[in-house]
Symmetry: C2
Subunit: 401 residues, 2 copies
Amino acid sequence: MSFKQFSSDTDVIAFARQHSDLFSADEPLKVAEIGDGNINFVYRVSGATTSLIIKQALPYIRIIGEGWPLSQDRIRIEAEALQLEAKYCPDLVPKVYHYDAEQCAIVMEDISAFGNLRMAMVQRQKLPLLGEHLGRFLADTLFYTSDLYLDGHAKKALVQRFINPDLCKISEELFFWDPYCDHERNSINEHLRADAEALWQDETLKLEVARLKIKFLNQAESLLHGDLHSGSVFVNESGTKIIDPEFAYVGPAGFDIGSIIGNYVLNIAGQSNLPGDQAERQDYQQWLLADMNTLWNTFSRCYRQHMQAETQDPSLRQAAYAEWYLAELLADSLGYAGTEVIRRTIGLAHVLDIESIEDAQQRTESERLALTLGQLLIKERASFSSIEALTAKLTKQLFCH
Amino acid sequence: MSFKQFSSDTDVIAFARQHSDLFSADEPLKVAEIGDGNINFVYRVSGATTSLIIKQALPYIRIIGEGWPLSQDRIRIEAEALQLEAKYCPDLVPKVYHYDAEQCAIVMEDISAFGNLRMAMVQRQKLPLLGEHLGRFLADTLFYTSDLYLDGHAKKALVQRFINPDLCKISEELFFWDPYCDHERNSINEHLRADAEALWQDETLKLEVARLKIKFLNQAESLLHGDLHSGSVFVNESGTKIIDPEFAYVGPAGFDIGSIIGNYVLNIAGQSNLPGDQAERQDYQQWLLADMNTLWNTFSRCYRQHMQAETQDPSLRQAAYAEWYLAELLADSLGYAGTEVIRRTIGLAHVLDIESIEDAQQRTESERLALTLGQLLIKERASFSSIEALTAKLTKQLFCH
């Protein structure tokens, strides 16, 4: 049997029954096509008391059609990345019940008890465990897939297994070039046009972005999630689930850390003008800044512990190496955070954290703030000796004028 | 037919006749087993007027035997690397006539008109084209296999094709760890023991070596030769041939540049005590320093020209990026040069440039000088704004005391 797109609920239900033992044989099942689904098809199959998710990848981008072909190998990569992540932090990812190479489909845990982090942030939900969970997810997935843990053969096999050119190309272009020139794919608020044009002339900024780009292209450091924005994170009061690692490849660890930090910063920029009481919005900005501290500090504490306990290579086990490495990684992470903030403001794909500001003038203000913070993150990334030094600077930028 | 080690001259001759059109059918051929052959078998097959080389890889290291298995994939890698190098600088590598996957053998051009560079340097031959040829070889091979030239898909396919864990592991250990601890594989002149012990205590040095090691492990920048010491370079008055790229993998460009610069420095250290007239030896040291300038300056001029003319990615085509990149690369190169110098002095494999000093005291002096220069290269690698700044410093170190 070769690849065939599911064409009916019956197909999807049959596939669900065949590849999981969640449902009893005579239990009636129903199917809903869910998901913001820009790229893939995602179905929820529900029985009387339980449900699961089926994700199927087509050989092109769903919302564009056959005009933008995209390798179906991405669904293998997503399945294998989820399984690898589950090995180290099983509580933080949906369980894969079955990966089907032929149908390019994953059958996995339904995480509908969790809500999307981007929505939660727009609604100013404080999530007591968020920074800790994200920090631990990053430390575990980035450490256990690096040369600090794996031997040379295992690491190189990992690089080979996660070569992912189609999806990397999307990031290479959308993060590191489009927003820095007058590209047709950009989406720029007309009131922000002059700001964007000034940015395109900033040679210092463009050099720093080129340095981040070459690292994204070349530095095979850890297996990345590769698309760790707020839309890939699902949350509730007691837990966190991180989904959709189809952009996974072995790249610079700072890219994942920076992507999610960038999404905190985007929400911070949005909160300056989102609807609601000012005190409440400012309070939420402060919560976000504090949670960024928690995220990085959890990450670096866990990472350091892993290195002390589990790094075998004696040349990389030195305490001085860990300190140097984490300082470098903080700088990288802030740089990538800056590229995420900028590409979400003047590039192709914007975020609800800012887009949901209805008043054009106010939205422009938040976008301008985002551009300012994005540039600061990129240009000054190597000047922060700790995450607190950064969040103190952002606090000053936001509240002291 | 599956893999079979050539067991007689008849085997080798039959293979040569089958896979080249150099010889006429009735021409008598003879075989000589040549080569310092630590790892592979190398045969020269000669007819009346012409000859060729056959190199065969066994599934283990020749001089050790089946106790040290080594993937035969290395011979595919060598053949493909030679073919890729030939695409960009055909005059600087031996021509591959045939690669035989089944017999793990390469049939290639005989370069016996050229002599080994290490011997030439021990004998103080000035080679008028050496620095230029090496600089051009490095610029061409490193540029055309990088993201500055290749598109993302082609680059990632290259990474995948040249995953080379067995041979990388040898370098990872011999360059970046053994010499920095009391490792059983080290070979240390007893008079130098105290110097080695002091080096093992130098935490600053060991951190810098760890930084170079992680780059060697992670930075998939360009297809490297991977073993570019003087023994891999063959020379005469009019030409240069670079052989043996079985360690090829996609790694940091500075490793190749640094390996060969390290071999210049090793000869410089040797010349302080090799037999012969002092003025002549000092004159040769100065020639080596000048040729290091030529090598780097040729490399950087060619590389810059390639970037200006052929880099398509607009974000990497910026002039400021080229300047930043070449400054970083000089620092990397000098760091790797330092690791080559140190591992050849207190690690497993030493070099004739120093080993051929018969007097133990004098040999120790040259080894001590090598250790000093190696540490300087590693620790101060980022402080040189040009190759001339380095060679001026080395000149002072050698001649002003």
